[in-house]
């Protein structure tokens, strides 16, 4: 028991350590949002550091947009707290949080020019009640827009975004990509504490999306402003995020760096949601000499076998996670390789995706023309290697890379 007097006279080592810890820019603590009986966001806790680009990723309806709207203040919080720069902010108004939001449909003001759209947040800062008087308001908004400070800032941002030529144009006359940049510009002129972006690229076509994605990365490197970005596109998440939060059914499944989430998925959902193709999950069992995959035995290193042995029992079985690049197509008689038959080949240009159905001792009850066999896996093969459907092949698996998951809970059994 420490008295307050002790603390003031002689700070403990723990207290000093706490002071050194940087305060996260945005901290979500057990944030929950319910709509009646439905829980949209369930007990989510994330710390977002200064200058970090955090991506919230998940399928439609997983609660990622609701979470972002709660950070922005557009949605109330049912439980937990949101701290912005160490201050509790869950009850404050959206404009008091000093965050900028970029909407999926851009949400530009259709009746205002690009310049007015971009200067609107700055005009609002100086707006007074008497500006509601017709005529006075028009004149005051115009004069605020023409102040050197506002003009200079608009020009600077327009220059960064390549919007100088469009400042006088109306949003309706701009293309999707240009509107997206105006929306970004409107967010940037405020110089906010953080950018919140809700699927800002989803309305763009594939080519423009890739281009704008790389532009966003450049802007982030230039501005170094904390960004929370919501998407359902795992390619965007992997390429843009410093950290990724994967969500499902309102719960945060995993929060970590893209590499970590890709290589060490916390559960089978993350393993299959991240990566194209999804991680192969093969039912396996622990046997004396290694892992039994449908009757074929893989022999991992003794230490890895020991790890699996500690996490699972011989009766239970587990799911063996193999990314498509962790297995190499070899000849069928290759030692310590799984054998199987090629069931399909997808040519991707530089490489091909080969689906191999493993030879198993279990009876094959599948009559469907679709390949739903649980002992099938996708493998990336360089396009120089000719692969034919029906060919018997071997698969050399890098067992050290593989991940094991609990059959029932889906949780990872492999320590990261």
């Amino acid at each position: 028991m420490t008295t307050s007097g002790d603390v003031t006279s002689l700070p403990s080592e723990d207290a000093t350590a706490e002071q050194i810890q940087p305060v996260p820019k945005i901290a979500l603590k057990n944030v929950t949002r319910t709509f009646g009986d439905f829980t949209a966001v369930d007990d989510v806790s994330i710390d977002i550091g200064d200058g970090e680009f955090v991506v919230l990723l998940g399928p439609s309806g997983c609660g990622k947009s609701t979470l972002l709207r709660m950070i922005a203040g557009l949605q109330t919080v049912s439980g937990g707290s949101i701290e912005i720069e160490g201050r509790e902010a869950q009850d404050s108004e959206p404009d008091e949080r000093d965050l900028a939001f970029v909407f999926q449909n851009y949400a530009l003001y259709p009746h205002m020019s690009v310049r007015r759209n971009m200067s609107f947040p700055l005009i609002m800062r100086r707006h007074r009640w008497w500006h509601h008087i017709p005529g006075v308001g028009w004149w005051s908004r115009r004069s605020i827009e023409r102040t050197p400070e506002v003009t200079e800032r608009i020009s600077r941002i327009a220059n960064i975004l390549g919007l100088e030529e469009m400042l006088h144009r109306m949003p309706a006359t701009l293309s999707g990509g240009q509107r997206q940049r105006v929306a970004l510009g409107r967010a940037m002129v405020r110089e906010p504490l953080a950018f919140l972006m809700d699927e800002p690229l989803s309305n763009l076509d594939a080519k423009l999306r890739a281009q704008t994605r790389s532009e966003l990365i450049q802007f982030h490197q230039l501005l170094e402003t904390t960004t929370v970005y919501v998407t359902h596109d795992q390619v965007e998440a992997m390429t843009m995020g410093d950290k990724i939060g994967v969500m499902l059914d309102g719960r945060l499944q995993q929060f970590g760096t893209p590499r970590d989430v890709y290589e060490n998925p916390a559960n089978t959902f993350v393993a299959q949601f991240i990566g194209t193709p999804a991680m192969n999950l093969l039912p396996a069992r622990l046997v004396e000499s290694g892992w039994d995959v449908g009757g074929q035995v893989l022999a991992p290193s003794p230490s890895l076998l020991e790890v699996t042995r500690r996490a699972t029992s011989e009766d239970d079985g587990f799911l063996l996670g193999i990314r498509s690049e962790w297995a190499t197509l070899v000849d069928a008689d290759h030692p310590n390789a799984l054998t199987g038959t090629v069931v399909s080949v997808e040519d991707w240009g530089a490489e091909q995706l080969v689906r191999v159905k493993l030879a198993t001792t279990e009876p094959d009850e599948h009559t469907s023309i679709l390949d739903t066999h649980e002992h099938s896996l996708d493998v990336r093969v360089p396009s120089q290697r000719r692969v034919r459907v029906g060919e018997s092949v071997g698969l050399a698996v890098e067992t050290a890379e593989t991940r094991a998951f609990d059959t029932r809970s889906g949780l990872s059994l492999t320590p990261s």
């Binding site: 404009d95 939001f101 609002m124 800062r125």
Partner: protein, 300 residues
């Protein structure tokens, strides 16, 4: 086999299609001519009463009952307009009508806009019932409500009061305008308003700076509806206004009809004068209504 049966079938329409193509210019011309003819007849039917009003106002007394009737105006009779303006308090009546119409217009638009915004954007208990009961006033004929309104106006001291007429007219026209504006506000993406909230706009600023300009075509349409309701309303005006000085022009026009004599040309001249401000008001707002049809297609 399949081809054998298909070939003649597929050939037949192609022959008739070629024939159709040959006759296309003639058909198109005939079709267009018919459209113009129908439109022309409709215009003549619609404008003839207006034309007849002008012709009658410019017809000498002796020619009014002549047969065949005079179809062209007699411009030597233009003095009837001067007489009407000088001899009758028509300018005062027009001013009264303008106060009532503009008052109704402003009250209706302000009240209806905020009511429509609330109905469109807020969720509250009894929302559906509230929206429906707005139409309760529309379901009863005005003539049925004159007596209770009269009793109410006596107790509130609103008889012979232009403000009273503005209130009564606003109550009747507002529901229509509320629904007109509600459907317009429904069409604005809510994200535009959320974006303004984040940009630091208060709810009142969002409504005045974002929502109102975006629904301005509907506001103009609502303003026209409310203005004309106030401008040409007769039943309430003739019941609640007995003082000649507070009469609107609609009641004033009716006062020309005497027991033994109706000065038809003067009534028509007064009618022309009466319709002119309304036409000017309509033309002034019309372009906003038309531009609204195009602006609606612009995505947020």
């Amino acid at each position: 086999m399949l081809n054998d049966t298909k070939t003649p079938v597929s050939r037949a329409p192609s022959t008739s299609a070629a024939a159709r193509r040959r006759h296309a210019p003639l058909r198109r011309r005939l079709g267009r001519g018919l459209t113009y003819l129908v439109a022309g007849i409709a215009i003549v039917v619609l404008l003839f009463p207006v034309y007849w009003m002008i012709v009658t106002s410019l017809t000498a007394d002796r020619d009014l009952a002549s047969f065949p009737p005079r179809l062209l105006p007699d411009f030597s009779q233009v003095g009837v307009y001067v007489d009407t303006l000088v001899d009758t308090p028509i300018l005062l009546w027009l001013a009264n009508s303008a106060v009532i119409a503009i008052g109704t217009c402003i009250c209706t638009i302000v009240l209806a806009f905020f009511a429509a915004y609330a109905l469109s954007r807020f969720r509250f208990k009894g929302q559906g019932v509230f929206g429906f009961t707005l139409f309760a006033t529309q379901m009863l004929p005005e003539a049925l409500l004159v007596v209770p309104f009269y009793a109410l106006f006596i107790s509130l001291g609103l008889l012979n009061n232009l403000g009273g007429l503005v209130l009564a007219h606003t109550a009747f026209v507002m529901p229509v305008v509320v629904w007109l504006l509600k459907s317009a506000i429904d069409g604005i993406p809510v994200e535009v308003e959320e974006s303004a909230r984040i940009d630091g706009a208060s709810p009142l600023r969002i409504v005045t700076l974002i929502v109102a300009p975006l629904v301005s075509p509907s506001i103009a349409a609502g303003a026209i509806v409310a203005f004309f309701y106030g401008w040409d309303e007769f039943l309430f005006a003739t019941t609640f206004v007995t003082d000649e000085g507070a009469r609107p022009a609609s009641v004033g026009l009716a006062s020309f009809v005497g027991e033994y004599f109706i000065p038809v040309n003067q009534v028509m001249a007064a009618s022309v004068i009466y319709t002119l401000p309304a036409i000017v008001f309509f033309i002034a707002l019309q372009r906003y209504v038309v531009s609204g049809l195009v602006a609606g297609s612009v995505k947020g």
